[in-house]
Subunit: 300 residues, 2 copies
């Protein structure tokens, strides 16, 4: 039973989590901390946070949620370590997990069993408490990457927290998590930033953007994400991300070569694999999707 | 005054154009041709097309709209050339313009003045007449890339046609058109196909796709586009597209290097340029955007 939580970082995710919990657990007490007074004030004004707290509250709540960008999470872990009592569980919302776990091991030492790493797979490109939404996690997944040191009770408590916020919980090991999200989230963000940066740097940027339509808008939506947050994610998941970069650039060069050599059939097949795979993904027809997969493997 | 049109190709764009014209010009007579009987039947069933036609109708209508993929457009131009009379204006909806114009010059010879090239900047990833929408062009742009041989009356007629379909018309020369759309449309499509193709080809594709969320969904939406249509666009706008590929790949390598070298400030600035530029684009604050542009130029 979670009766009180301390949310450190009342941005989009922290404030949305508070709103989601208030919705299903009206009795819960939510204390907030944020280095930006206006963020904290906005979270309080929205009714997400009951009152502003201080680090002393770490010893007075059931759960501490580290909801800052990943770099701040590692700094905050060091700050809260000396204040931690036996009964408190710490969790985070970081988009990368191995780095946060390494920081937690270093900061929390023999209390690391009290840290249950988590990553809600939900977000939007707008940031800050004004963009928060009580339904942000509804029907979405939250990944928990448990430590060997965690007991089932602690994991169960954080699982419950996210279920109460509307999410379904999936457990995964941290290195798999980081590899999977480098591929399906981190690299797409980098490519969207790259596309907009490239066009914005040109002398005719204004002409280019004035003719960009809905395809471009959706392709680059994630380039409106927080630069600070995504810089941290990129650097904290550097190795997996660089590997994804290299595999993508190889594949992009393969497509470039199909175009350069006017390989009509090869180009159509390349596109068709993508179109089919995406169709199976959207419709959830995994058995069919395996066929696509095998086709693709046969080809290469 | 356009009282009758022949639409050759009753897919998404042809059928949407017919529906849009019927909406504002209820008296207009729309004749359709499509090599796929089911497409034509569907366009007729939707009330977009009044009846099926044959190539003979080329001589009997005010405007012929070539609404097939670009490769078919060039074949169709050759087929209709001998049937063309003085009063008929031909236009197209191709996403590339220099190649269509070259084909028109070759096929139509001294009647090329009757061909007014156009490109409606609207679409969706679904294709076929079932996806057609009377409001598809509403508030969107249509680019006309007039030929030196076109008279103002012909250009005015096609301008009127698209305005009646809800679009606003912009004139541009064909080579500028092809360069602009290689950058803001064609390359993003290639990159989206590449991203999905790459992940679909992996042994763990199923795991990867099962964790892909809304960022990935929007980034890859255009990878559900028609492979045949986009193969044709890629090959017909090959030179401009390859140039865009190379510039993008250089920029992607620049970002990769910022990550590899852990350049925190450089990476944040790279992302911030993109985030700011996209914000100015969405809000239409071009004067501010120019500043971003200059900043970016100063940096490089």
């Amino acid at each position: 039973m979670i009766s009180s939580i301390l949310i450190i970082g009342t941005g989009l995710i922290g404030t949305s989590l508070a709103l989601a919990l208030k919705r299903t657990q009206p009795g819960i007490r939510v204390i907030g901390i944020d280095p930006h007074a206006e963020s904290l004030d906005a979270a309080i004004a929205r009714g997400a946070v009951d009152h502003a707290g201080s680090m002393e509250h770490v010893s007075k709540v059931d759960v501490v949620v580290l909801a800052a960008p990943v770099r701040q999470i590692t700094l905050t872990l060091a700050a809260i370590a000396p204040l931690l009592r036996d009964h408190t569980i710490i969790t985070d919302v970081g988009s990368t997990k191995q780095d946060v776990i390494a920081a937690a091991r270093s900061a929390l030492a023999n209390r690391v069993s009290q840290f249950v790493p988590a990553h809600p797979i939900a977000g939007r490109e707008q940031h800050g408490p004004a963009a928060a939404d009580a339904l942000l996690f509804d029907g979405k997944k939250t990944i928990i990457t448990p430590l060997a040191e965690n007991n089932r009770q602690s994991i169960g408590m954080i699982t419950k927290l996210w279920e109460q916020a509307g999410a379904s919980v999936v457990e995964m090991d941290a290195s798999t998590h980081d590899a999977v999200f480098a591929a399906v989230s981190h690299l797409p963000h980098m490519l969207a930033f790259t596309m907009v940066n490239e066009l914005a740097s040109r002398p005719n940027a204004k002409t280019l953007f004035s003719h960009a339509a809905s395809g471009f808008r959706d392709f680059t939506r994630i380039a409106s994400s927080s630069p600070e947050m995504w810089r941290d994610i990129a650097l904290n998941n550097r190795d997996a991300l660089l590997q994804e970069f290299d595999q993508f650039l190889l594949r992009a060069n393969e497509m470039r070569e199909l175009i350069a050599s006017r390989d009509e059939n090869g180009l159509r097949e390349f596109m068709r694999q993508a179109e089919k795979a995406r169709g199976y993904w959207l419709s959830g027809q995994w058995s069919q999707f395996n066929n696509v997969d095998n086709d693709a493997n046969d080809k290469t």
